[in-house]
């Protein structure tokens, strides 16, 4: 029956007909799409999959052209290195506190921005506070390095001296006790505004009838915030925290642009440790650096699974 070009057709019980082409035919018909996918596949293989093969070097010693198997040797060395543990605890502390501070500030700003009735004002403030997100960390670090510099043109030092708060200049970014607070503040300045996007989107979805009902019951503004707005946000807050917890170990650029050798104790994170061990050492052991990276990925994976479980408990579904 079926000759070239004629499609074999199956008739369903309700009389409608369904095309039942053979697999070969369907592949041939879609050949254009496979061709279109080819450049994407090549790029993904090159940029993402090929490096995955390199993970095996975690079990090798790789100096210059000299590669040989050392088994778990790199990990043994890693766990006995105090610098590594320092960077590990620093990473957790810096990125978790940064995450909590940024989220808290973003929630606070979204809640009160939501109370603003003047739409023009609201839009203008949104536009302004989103701005720093689009600047690179290098630019933000440059701006604040100049402002905080102890030289005669450093804005913060000189202004505080003029107002009598300080007697001599402080080198903020080279001070072990001040580096972390400054790091948190700069990150809040840069990312809080953008962090409000997701919360404001949630708030715009709240049913206005809830506010009307609260009005009828005679609720004040603060009571409405406490009993309508915040409960509506709680789910989003948890989602944001969980999603970001999964990648707390990946921090590199925010720290790298601000830190310096004098504050390694309080600022060195895993990624910057890997960077220093590889690119600032005369003869780097790529095997060792890969092992540090692998350890980071494994811990990151465990954190993600924990977060996934937490997410399932809280919202009834996972993060992926």
């Amino acid at each position: 029956m079926s000759i070239f070009g004629k499609k074999p057709v199956e008739t369903l019980s309700n009389g409608s007909q369904v095309n039942q082409k053979s697999l070969k035919m369907r592949i041939w018909n879609n050949r254009g799409f496979y061709l279109m996918f080819l450049p994407v596949a090549i790029f993904v293989l090159l940029v993402y999959y090929w490096p995955m093969l390199g993970i095996r070097y975690a079990f090798y010693s790789y100096k210059l052209k000299n590669i040989h198997w050392v088994g778990m040797g790199n990990f043994v060395k890693l766990f006995s290195e105090p610098d590594f543990w320092q960077s590990f605890t620093n990473t957790l502390e810096l990125s978790i506190i940064k995450l909590l501070l940024n989220t808290f500030a973003a929630v606070l700003i979204s809640v009160f921005l939501n109370e603003m009735k003047n739409m023009f004002m609201k839009k203008t403030i949104q536009t302004i506070i989103y701005l720093p997100h689009f600047m690179s960390y290098a630019v933000v670090a440059a701006i604040f390095t100049l402002f905080l510099s102890p030289s005669s043109t450093g804005f913060v030092n000189e202004t505080m001296k003029e107002w009598g708060f300080l007697s001599s200049s402080i080198d903020f970014l080279h001070s072990k006790s001040l580096w972390r607070p400054i790091f948190y503040l700069i990150n809040m300045w840069k990312e809080t505004g953008w962090g409000t996007v997701i919360f404001l989107a949630t708030l715009s979805g709240i049913n206005p009838e809830l506010y009307e009902a609260a009005d009828i019951d005679g609720a004040t503004r603060l009571q409405k915030i406490m009993h309508v707005t915040l409960p509506a946000l709680s789910n989003t807050i948890i989602v944001v925290l969980i999603l970001n917890m999964a990648k707390v170990l990946n921090m590199f650029e925010p720290v790298f642009v601000l830190y310096n050798s004098r504050v390694y104790d309080v600022s060195d994170v895993i990624s910057t440790y890997v960077y220093r061990k590889t690119f600032l050492t005369a003869i780097p052991d790529y095997g060792y650096s890969t092992a540090v990276g692998l350890f980071k990925s494994v811990v990151g994976c465990i954190l993600m699974l924990i977060c996934n479980q937490a997410s399932k408990k809280v919202r009834g579904r996972g993060i992926m």
Partner: protein, 298 residues
């Protein structure tokens, strides 16, 4: 007074009360405005100081609303000194090339992933999704790029950001919103798969192309860490890297330039954010547009 009058008075009072409550500008509102104006100033004033100081011929620590000794020498120095202008052009070239490559690959990938009757579609999307979870890490990536000969070359920026799976998925979601009937009609008229892609799908996705293109452009323009890791040749670095080296490491022979060190620094900061500052109003509009368009499905 009769009953009707009383009722009318009562209603009037009620209305007045209602208007008062609606348009009352309470102490809460007042504080709210003040606090938000302060927040906006905290964001704006540092940027304003950078702009003013970039046009002030002597470095001062004070905050000024307008440059005292106006000069554009800072900018002139950047655009006439090879050591500074070369990185700026590198940034422009890599951003333009990378944005086009990124858009090309994510539209192609996003369109193909929407072909639900194509055998192997789910395997292909799995192939892409895996890369969002697992990566080789900094060092294995470096070793691969070394083998590809991309270390010490600015094209590393284009290759590394050439495909972003997250953007590809956004593009796919947007394409899903294009009415199937349009594509069916084109098919009936004898349009090929490629023809449909270029003549129907792409012209309908201008908003998404703009917003995703801007996302690529911002990522590539702002990338500092890739350059820090891969490039040491001063001819190949981008402007972000130059800025950081200049300010943090103080690696500028400023005596060679005719401007004060601070003027040059602040002018460089402005140059490093200039393209996006110009595009920002559009960027914000397209961001919202793209996200909304991607969310609405037929």
């Amino acid at each position: 007074m009769d009953n009707a009058n009383l009722m009318r008075l009562g209603r009037k009072a009620e209305e007045q009360e209602y208007t008062k409550r609606r348009f009352k500008f309470s102490a809460f509102d007042f504080t709210n405005y003040i606090v938000f104006i302060i927040i906006a100033l905290i964001v704006i004033l540092p940027m304003w100081k950078v702009i003013v100081d970039s046009m002030n011929s002597v470095g001062v620590y004070q905050f000024r609303f307008w440059p005292e000794n106006f000069t554009l020498d800072g900018y002139r120095t950047i655009f006439t000194t090879r050591k500074l202008f070369r990185p700026f052009m590198n940034s422009v070239v890599t951003t333009v090339a990378g944005t086009f490559l990124g858009l090309a690959l994510s539209t192609l990938g996003g369109y193909v992933l929407n072909q639900y009757d194509m055998p192997g579609r789910s395997a292909m999307s799995m192939f892409l999704m895996i890369t969002m979870v697992f990566t080789g890490g900094m060092i294995p990536e470096y070793l691969v790029m070394k083998q590809l000969g991309l270390v010490d070359s600015m094209w590393i920026l284009v290759v590394k950001h050439g495909i972003n799976v997250y953007n590809l998925v956004l593009m796919k979601n947007f394409f899903e919103g294009i009415p199937v009937s349009l594509i069916e009609a084109a098919k009936i008229d004898g349009c090929s798969a490629m023809g449909i892609f270029f003549r129907i799908v792409l012209p309908l996705s201008k908003a998404a192309l703009a917003s995703i293109g801007l996302m690529y452009a911002v990522t590539i323009w702002n990338d500092y860490s890739t350059v820090q890791i891969y490039i040491t040749n001063p001819d190949q670095v981008n402007f972000q890297y130059m800025l950081r080296v200049m300010i943090m490491d103080g690696d500028t022979p400023t005596t060679a330039y005719k401007v004060s060190q601070d003027t040059l620094y602040y002018a460089s900061i402005i140059c490093a954010i200039l393209p996006f500052m110009v595009a920002y109003p559009f960027l914000q509009k397209y961001f919202v547009k793209g996200v909304n368009a991607g969310a609405v499905k037929e």
